[in-house]
């Protein structure tokens, strides 16, 4: 569903991505680990079409992102580290707009209210201006937008960063539900525990290169930590 083929991105003399190849199939949760500046967000930006590769290509559902920027966006939903919404509108109004923008169809408000309730946003908060929301509440609206899109792939850029453990756990549960429904999930994170608990496949990235890739079932928590630290040190 999501595929990067020998993807390289240079910003002048700076190599942000160095021949990265990876793929995420339907129902798979791929967790990409790496320190700040490793190139994780740059990779996501390529899937979103915000950046054009220097060489190589990125594919969504078999279609090249560069030549089909709009088509490929129909198949993906994106949740950034900080879901930014319109502060003067309510959570429900934001959801109504973004989900309609995503699908081209306006969903009934009752359906949207239910979706917000499903991700744990209190009914009272849904009718409040987003300017009064905490980060966690905004993330929940972001998740709802992604769910309402019914996308074939989810792109998440450090989605649990800044969330409390309970919220992060709920979030992992949502990702698992999505993958059970056949959605390909690609998420970047610093959180090894979250990666091990949630992901099927795990990749480790440093300085724009994908250094290691393995199935999460093949390693224990302790092994994973040592693999990660080893790759960070080399």
């Amino acid at each position: 569903m999501l595929k990067a083929n020998s993807l390289t991105k240079n910003f002048n003399s700076n190599i942000a991505l160095n021949s990265v190849s990876l793929s995420v199939s339907q129902g798979e949760i791929y967790c990409l680990l790496g320190a700040n500046g490793a190139g994780k967000t740059t990779l996501i930006n390529h899937f979103l079409g915000f950046l054009k590769p220097t060489s190589g290509e990125v594919l969504v559902n078999g279609k090249c992102v560069t030549s089909n920027p709009l088509d490929t966006k129909r198949d993906i939903a994106y949740i950034p580290e900080n879901v930014m919404l319109y502060g003067v509108l309510t959570g429900l109004e934001n959801l109504e707009y973004f989900s309609a923008l995503a699908t081209g169809r306006k969903k009934p408000r009752d359906v949207l209210r239910k979706l917000l309730a499903d991700v744990g946003l209190p009914a009272e908060a849904a009718e409040r201006r987003v300017a009064t929301y905490s980060k966690g509440m905004r993330q929940k609206v972001g998740i709802t937008i992604a769910m309402a899109k019914n996308a074939k792939a989810l792109l998440l850029d450090e989605p649990t960063s800044g969330l409390d453990p309970k919220a992060a756990n709920e979030f992992s549960r949502l990702l698992k539900t999505a993958s059970e429904n056949g959605v390909a999930v690609f998420t970047t994170t610093h959180d090894l525990f979250h990666a091990k608990e949630t992901g099927n496949r795990i990749g480790i990235m440093r300085s724009g290169s994908l250094l290691a890739e393995f199935n999460s079932d093949d390693v224990s928590h302790a092994d994973m930590e040592s693999i990660y630290l080893k790759n960070m040190r080399d």
Partner: protein, 484 residues
């Protein structure tokens, strides 16, 4: 298209929630209404003044007619210096009539030249400089003097309101992080920007146009219909629309570079200063250099010299005795004739000579003023503000061109007036009651409407062309914007 209307409606929702749209629309309506109120007050007071002059004139004329009847029937002795039978006195002031250019139905839209140039002259047998050229000639094109009328609000303030509501179309989305959220969905940056732009353009221009049309239809509707100036109003709206579109295109173009909100604001204000303040002044300087304004001093000096020449030439006539003052029977006609004092004949001849000799000078004056106006119209494209101002004042009937036409018509009327009195003055024919009915009267002939409308539409077209170019450039630039 679906995304476009979705973005449009979402923007309205946001701008209603943060009250920015309501604030801008309310302020714009208030300012335009106040401008209309000022324009209307001016137009009404001008019309009242003209009505008062006409009624004074009618009262004066009937007073003279009655006095003639009393003198002829021997009930009254004529005054030496105000004898209504004397054609030289009647023609040179006693019976003078006003030449009036009536204000147009759309005059509240723009004061234009109306507070600078006269809309009426009291025409007499005296030379033209005595009643037509006492006003300032050095600034015939008094562009954008800051008077508070609807045109001032439209030309000066409308762009600022447009900036206030759209200077950060793209930058605000980038700065608050919602741009990424939106562009992660199947929508292009161009659709997003055009949606956001039209969400502002439609209400702002809608309110502007309504705030111009509605007061006219309510308070001047009859005048507009009766005078057949509905097409003028329609063309005025087209110009206003084009001007509004132009400034929105400017904001889109500036936004398309992807600068920060602060930079956008600075660039837009700089553009406004250049196009609204600097360019018209530069155009004025250019026009003044290419076709220098006629000097009023030159005119005054020339008039004085010609008058002195006349005084010398008609020295003998002017030296005639004053026996008619002592012999009042000379003031009463016999057989429809009486002796017009030679002094008065001399005054008439001096004035006639001044008119004849000054004709070339005044002709040069008028042609230079027309040349200036032609230059303004030819080079008006340097600023849409100039085009809008010129277009709207022309449609309002307060533009330079209409006043120049008025002067031309008054010239012709002056000639007609003199032709009427000259034989009477020179042959000593008295003015009779019947003569008063035959006095030449001035009727203002409105210049060709089709030329005015076509010229105004051409101005709107020039603004539209600039708008289309800016929209196209903005559209192309948006494709290159770094959304990150």
């Amino acid at each position: 298209m679906k995304s476009f209307s979705l973005i449009l409606r979402n923007e309205w929702r946001i701008m209603i929630a943060d009250k920015s749209l309501i604030l801008v629309c309310t302020l714009l309506t208030l300012l335009l209404s106040y401008g209309f109120f000022i324009g209307l007050s001016e137009a009404v007071s001008r019309d009242e003044r003209v009505r008062e002059l006409v009624s004074q004139q009618e009262r004066g004329q009937s007073g003279i007619v009655e006095q003639i009847q009393r003198i002829v029937s021997g009930h009254e002795k004529p005054d030496v210096f105000a004898n209504p039978l004397n054609p030289a006195l009647v023609g040179s002031g006693l019976g003078s009539l006003y030449a009036i250019m009536h204000s147009g139905a759309l005059s509240p839209l723009a004061l234009g030249q109306s507070d600078l140039l006269p809309d009426h002259y009291r025409v007499s047998t005296r030379n033209k400089t005595t009643f037509m050229y006492q006003t300032e000639n050095e600034s015939p094109w008094n562009l954008l003097t800051g008077r508070f009328d609807p045109v001032f609000v439209l030309v000066y303030l409308l762009p600022l309101f447009i900036f206030a509501i759209s200077y950060n179309l793209l930058s605000s989305e980038k700065e608050q992080g919602t741009l990424r959220m939106q562009l992660s969905h199947p929508v292009t940056l161009q659709t997003l920007m055009f949606g956001k732009l039209f969400a502002r353009l439609v209400p702002v221009l809608g309110v502007t146009i309504l705030a111009v049309i509605v007061p006219f239809l309510i308070l001047r509707g009859d005048a507009v219909m009766v005078s057949g100036q509905l097409p003028h109003l329609v063309v005025a709206i087209i110009i206003i629309g084009a001007y509004g579109f132009f400034w929105f295109a400017v904001t889109l173009f500036v936004n398309s570079f992807g600068f920060s909100s602060a930079s956008n604001a600075l660039i837009l204000v700089g553009t406004w200063v250049f196009l609204v303040l600097v360019a018209p002044v530069l155009l004025n300087v250019f026009v003044s250099r290419m076709s220098p304004a006629p000097s009023r001093i030159e005119l005054a000096t020339e008039t004085r010299l010609i008058t002195i020449d006349g005084l010398n030439r008609y020295h003998e006539l002017l030296s005639s005795d004053y026996r008619h003052i002592k012999d009042s029977s000379m003031l009463v006609p016999s057989d429809g004739k009486f002796e017009v004092p030679e002094r008065l004949q001399a005054f008439y001849l001096i004035n006639k000579a001044v008119d004849e000799k000054i004709e070339t000078l005044l002709g040069d004056f008028e042609s230079r003023l027309r040349a200036q106006q032609d230059l303004v119209e030819r080079f008006g494209f340097v600023s849409p503000s100039v085009l809008t101002y010129e277009g709207l004042v022309s449609l309002a009937g307060t533009g330079t061109r209409r006043y120049q036409d008025f002067k031309q018509q008054v010239n012709d009327y002056h000639r007609e007036w003199k032709e009427f009195f000259e034989p009477r003055i020179m042959s000593g024919q008295i003015v009779t009651v019947a003569d008063f009915e035959k006095l030449p009267r001035f009727t203002w002939q409105e210049p060709d409407v089709s030329i005015l409308l076509a010229g105004s539409l051409a101005k709107a077209l020039q603004i539209f062309l600039a708008t289309v170019v800016l929209f196209a450039l903005g559209f192309m630039r948006l494709a290159k914007v770094d959304v990150l």
